[in-house]
């Protein structure tokens, strides 16, 4: 489903963000991507949703190759991938309901479909009572749940999470991780980048470890 084949990414001539990365992620997998800040985790995720292209090598996502995909096809690929970030990236002028619905509206869903799906997600993420709240009224954990809701409303085959617990206290982090596991249990693959080793420990999940842009372990 996702495959990296000898991928290199250089941002400057002699500055390699990623070097010779190869791995596969299958349908329904849960994979941690670990490494210190600057080890190339975000770049690797960007290569999956094709905000960046490899300097060398090839990335395959859902049968589309980074080498042959056309610019016009990238939005359609992104509709099948959910992405969440450390800083949530919510629209500050919209409430919880509208932020989640936004994920479907921009892809041209009918009003009825948008409404049904959004309400379903609000209920699933236990955000129903906060549906009219604006981002500035939410806690960090709630904001991340809204971001997850926006990603899930399009029913992606994979959820990419870039340090999703980076701005959240340890207790809430565990809740977020549990939520991600629940999402995974329903069939969505999850690739979660984190430098928080405590979250990874004892999870029993596969771990891709990056060091200075190189894949040092696939456990």
């Amino acid at each position: 489903m996702i495959e990296f084949s000898h991928v290199y990414k250089y941002f400057k001539k002699d500055w390699a963000a990623l070097e010779d990365i190869s791995f596969k992620i299958q349908k329904g997998d849960f994979v941690f991507l670990t490494g210190v800040s600057g080890s190339g985790k975000s770049t690797l995720l960007k290569l999956i949703y094709m905000e960046e292209k490899p300097t060398k090598g090839e990335v395959f996502v859902d049968n589309l190759s980074s080498a042959t995909i056309r610019k016009n096809d990238i939005p359609f690929l992104r509709r099948k991938i959910g992405v969440i970030f450390q800083d949530f990236k919510l629209l500050e002028d919209r409430n919880v309901y509208e932020n989640i619905a936004f994920g479907l509206e921009v892809t041209g869903g009918s009003r009825r479909l948008v409404r049904e799906k959004t309400l379903e997600i609000l209920q699933k993420l236990r955000l129903g009572h906060r549906r009219n709240a604006f981002p500035y009224q939410l806690s960090g954990g709630e904001k991340q749940r809204v971001a997850i809701g926006r990603a899930l409303v399009r029913e992606p085959f994979i959820l990419l999470a870039d340090e999703p617990t980076g701005n959240i206290d340890p207790e809430t982090s565990k809740d977020i991780l549990k939520l991600m596991k629940d999402i995974n249990a329903e069939g969505t693959a999850v690739l979660m980048a984190t430098h928080d080793i405590d979250l990874v420990k004892g999870s029993g999940k596969r771990v891709l470890n990056l060091e200075h842009g190189k894949l040092m372990g696939d456990l």
């Binding site: 949703y49 094709m50 905000e51 960046e52 292209k53 610019k71 016009n72 990238i74 939005p75 359609f76 690929l77 992104r78 509709r79 992405v83 990236k89 629209l91 002028d93 936004f102 994920g103 509206e105 921009v106 892809t107 041209g108 926006r150 990603a151 399009r154």
Partner: protein, 286 residues
């Protein structure tokens, strides 16, 4: 479509200040451009008016018979560039001079004879009203027997000709600078508006919005902003023209043409400016 319109209106409400600045900048540019066109159009009209008054006067020797005058007129009429010749008799010259003197006309009446010669007023095709052609034609006319003297205000025309050339060149350069800077100013303002909403655009791209979906609300916003600006500036221009034309009868504005042109130009600037600004932003990022 409903979503796009809703997004555009939402964007405008959320960015009231930027929308206000955009409208102010477009209106200001259009008013300056409009004022400039009024100035140019009236300048050109004034030049035309001045040119239409340029005529060659050929003074006739005293005592020419009507047949001789007719034959002279015919021969002068054959010169290239001459379109009309009118005969001013001694009496007519005397009368018109007396009228021009006004209260000093007694001076003329004190003379016992009419000192003024009869003359032929030669009108030229506008294309021939250049200094060079006037010189050439005057020389040809002066060579006919029966012509005492030829005059066409050479020194005055030479001066005016020079001033007009400089003014037209300055007007053209200024006009081009004004138009280019208006478009640049509007594009930059819209660009600022786009930049201030980069987070919004980035999120749209992240969830899989196509470039055209992202672009249309911005262009729609540009259209609304430029429509408002066009209404404002066309009204100002119309009002100013109305006041000027009612005060100065000679001043013309072709009010409707200018107001409509400003209106259309404003909308074009708004749409093109928005499209350039959004496209540039979208191109820089994948």
């Amino acid at each position: 479509m409903i979503i796009i319109i809703r997004e555009a209106i939402r964007g405008m409400i959320h960015n009231k200040m930027m929308v206000f600045v955009t409208i102010a900048v477009i209106s200001f540019s259009l008013i300056i451009l409009g004022g400039f066109s009024i100035f140019t159009i009236n300048g050109l009209r004034f030049i035309n008016l001045a040119e239409s008054k340029i005529k060659i006067e050929a003074f006739l020797a005293d005592g020419l018979s009507t047949a001789e005058v007719d034959s002279l007129s015919k021969r002068i009429g054959n010169i290239e560039g001459v379109i009309n010749i009118s005969y001013i008799s001694k009496d007519e010259a005397y009368k018109s001079f007396k009228d021009r003197l006004g209260k000093d006309k007694d001076m003329l009446e004190a003379l016992s004879v009419n000192p003024l010669p009869a003359s032929l007023e030669i009108d030229l095709d506008p294309a021939y009203k250049t200094l060079e052609n006037l010189d050439k034609i005057s020389l040809k006319v002066a060579l006919f027997s029966g012509i005492e003297d030829v005059s066409y205000g050479k020194r005055w025309i030479a001066k005016v000709d020079k001033i007009i050339k400089v003014l037209l060149l300055a007007d053209l350069i200024f006009g081009i600078i004004l138009l280019v800077s208006s478009i640049l100013l509007v594009t930059m303002t819209v660009r600022l508006n786009v930049e201030s909403r980069r987070d919004h655009i980035d999120i749209m791209r992240l969830v899989g919005a196509t470039d055209s979906f992202i672009r249309i609300p911005f262009i729609f916003e540009g259209l609304i902003a430029s429509f408002i600006s066009s209404v404002i500036s066309a009204s100002v221009i119309y009002g100013v023209l109305f006041l000027l034309t009612s005060r100065f009868k000679d001043m013309r504005g072709d009010m409707n043409v200018i107001a409509v042109s400003i209106f259309i130009l404003g909308i074009l600037i708004g749409i093109i400016g928005s499209k350039i600004a959004v496209d540039k932003y979208l191109k820089e990022r994948v």
